[in-house]
Subunit: 359 residues, 2 copies
């Protein structure tokens, strides 16, 4: 495709230019847009159509200069992947010879006290083969966990069941109380919705929720307009509509316009010491300028509408957003052109968004 | 976030529902949209706003039923990753102790005839440490390759230099003729532009190029509106504007609206037997309905504008698109909501889009 051929003889000057990757020269007939010496856009000289594009890039670059955008984003991704290299700390949890989770030895020792349900193996822990059906396994494990809950060993009981399976498509080997998901290191799924607004001037804004200060997890932190665990028995798309209504008062007719846009996956150490192996289905929901979400149930304190550029700065700064929301927003920013491929570490940042097992 | 609690006692019925993952029941107050027994959308009963959404889904599902959409996509991804597990066939190529490529032993034996440039190591091949600068390495390797080209061992000479580096951000150890990139198994970069049109009825269409039947590679196959290798010395964004003009007559003012949207990476065995380790920067370019691209130089035979749903069917059917274009289009479809997370294999398909080293 490239027809600008260069002779080998000119390799030195090409190298010269290559070293100056951060100091690209403009192509003939173009104006390059520079901030801090980095070319982040190319514009045809004098085109007024591009004023808003330039304004947008300008904001992006101001954020970059102030906060070191990609390196701030990278920290968010790393924070969500702090279990990298720690798999060896956990022992495999098997059902019928297949590893479905990873457990801390200290928690496994509590489980092993129930020898009719959990058996030690050479490498880890397995469910008794006497439990031959998903129903039998679900019931037996539930009984053990209810006892451990009463001893305070399974905090944050939800009365909600998550599937235990090797992948989202696979048949579950059993269902397990949500609060124990990371204690067993099983894969857990959720839906995160980027609620955004296209403003008349072409700029974009994103709805931000502030979590209630009395919420058990991440109180007072910033969150998506809507996000939630993926319960069993309904599809992710159905879950999006349900959560939109329950959490933000988004009417189903609006919520149904949410478009799936991929997934983000990560592995971190949970507050209970367990391995949190999460896959978040990501949706983009374009909302009309006139619509405002409303807190429904005391879980969200308030909703803001912020320019995407402000969201970006706040994410890069770190410490304000619930960590998994931060990486879903980074995914949004990368999919929608808010981060330029010429930024150092762009590809590594992108790869980091699916660092956990994506299946 | 989930407040629909269920008691452990009801686990059997939850399991029942979970097994029926492909037969979700509609939530109260909603109509689910089914085709072939698969719920792919949820719509509020009787909302006329959603007619076009329903039409869109209907088309998607028709394609799915006809062609087994995700499994067709999966074949495209696998085709681009046919080197998976073959790394052992190649020997590492090192510069100053760092592996920057992978070479077939048969090609390495030709290189080793030039003992002043290439040295055998215990595990592979390295550049002579006498070549201490990027310029010296570039020139020495160019001289060897020119000789091999004259013997017919480096087909398709381009007179264009690619950087040899561990990642896109890293300083290149040397530059090397593009035609030899896969013979050395170095990482190569490119830009692919999804040129799409938002029609008045809300549907979307995508520009398709048919490659010239006289083109050396993939003659007559379908292609992106614009795509090209990433040459050294200009940024990907500059390259997009340059290629848009050269390949499709897209004026710079229009081309500058292209938004970066991530990257796709894969590893395949090239026609020369070498290891093709490609990272494609992906851009979405929304074009006005009135604009039509024009073949500029005989590389493209003609341009079509197809409904995205038709592009989707043709990609899933396989054999029509240049393979790496197919996976960039799959990435577009997944980012823009054309594939539903409840489709079996959705997450594995997504993970497959960055199966090659993304750095």
């Amino acid at each position: 495709y490239i027809r600008n051929s260069r002779s080998i003889g000119s390799s030195a000057s090409v190298l010269e230019r290559s070293r100056a990757r951060t100091r690209y020269k403009g192509l003939q007939g173009f104006l390059t847009y520079n901030t801090g010496g980095v070319t982040t856009g190319v514009f045809f000289s004098g085109s007024p159509d591009l004023a808003s594009q330039v304004r947008h890039r300008s904001f992006v670059m101001a954020a970059k200069t102030a906060n070191n955008l990609v390196s701030g984003f990278r920290k968010c991704v790393d924070l969500c992947n702090d279990a990298a290299g720690l798999r060896g700390t956990y022992i495999p949890f098997e059902v019928e010879g297949t590893t479905v989770g990873f457990i801390l030895p200290s928690f496994a020792s509590h489980l092993m006290e129930h020898g009719d349900v959990f058996k030690a193996t050479e490498a880890g822990l397995q469910l008794s083969s006497d439990l031959a059906t998903p129903e039998a396994r679900t019931e037996a494990v539930a009984n053990v966990l209810a006892g451990l809950r009463d001893c305070g060993l399974v905090p944050g009981w939800r009365d909600e069941l998550f599937p235990v399976a090797t992948s989202f498509s696979a048949e579950p080997a059993l269902l397990i109380e949500r609060a124990a998901a990371s204690l067993f290191g099983i894969k857990a799924y959720g839906v995160h919705i980027n609620g955004w607004v296209r403003r008349q001037d072409g700029s974009r804004a994103m709805w931000v929720a502030r979590r209630s200060r009395t919420k058990q997890t991440w109180p007072g932190m910033l969150d998506h307009i809507v996000a939630g665990g993926q319960p069993h028995g309904i599809s992710p798309t159905e879950n999006v509509v349900k959560e939109c209504g329950e959490e933000a008062g988004v009417p189903p007719a609006l919520a149904a316009a949410a478009r799936p846009a991929g997934a983000v996956s990560y592995e971190c150490v949970n507050t209970d010491g367990g391995l949190k192996r999460d896959v978040m289905f990501v949706y983009d929901l374009e909302l009309p300028e006139g619509f405002a979400p409303e807190p429904q149930d005391g879980e969200v304190e308030e909703f803001f509408l912020w320019p995407v550029e402000r969201v970006m700065q706040v994410v890069a700064e770190g410490g304000h957003y619930k960590p998994n929301c931060a990486i879903v927003i980074i995914d949004f920013l990368m999919r929608h052109g808010y981060v330029a491929p010429e930024e150092e570490g762009y590809l590594e940042l992108l790869a980091g968004l699916r660092q956990g097992e994506c299946s």
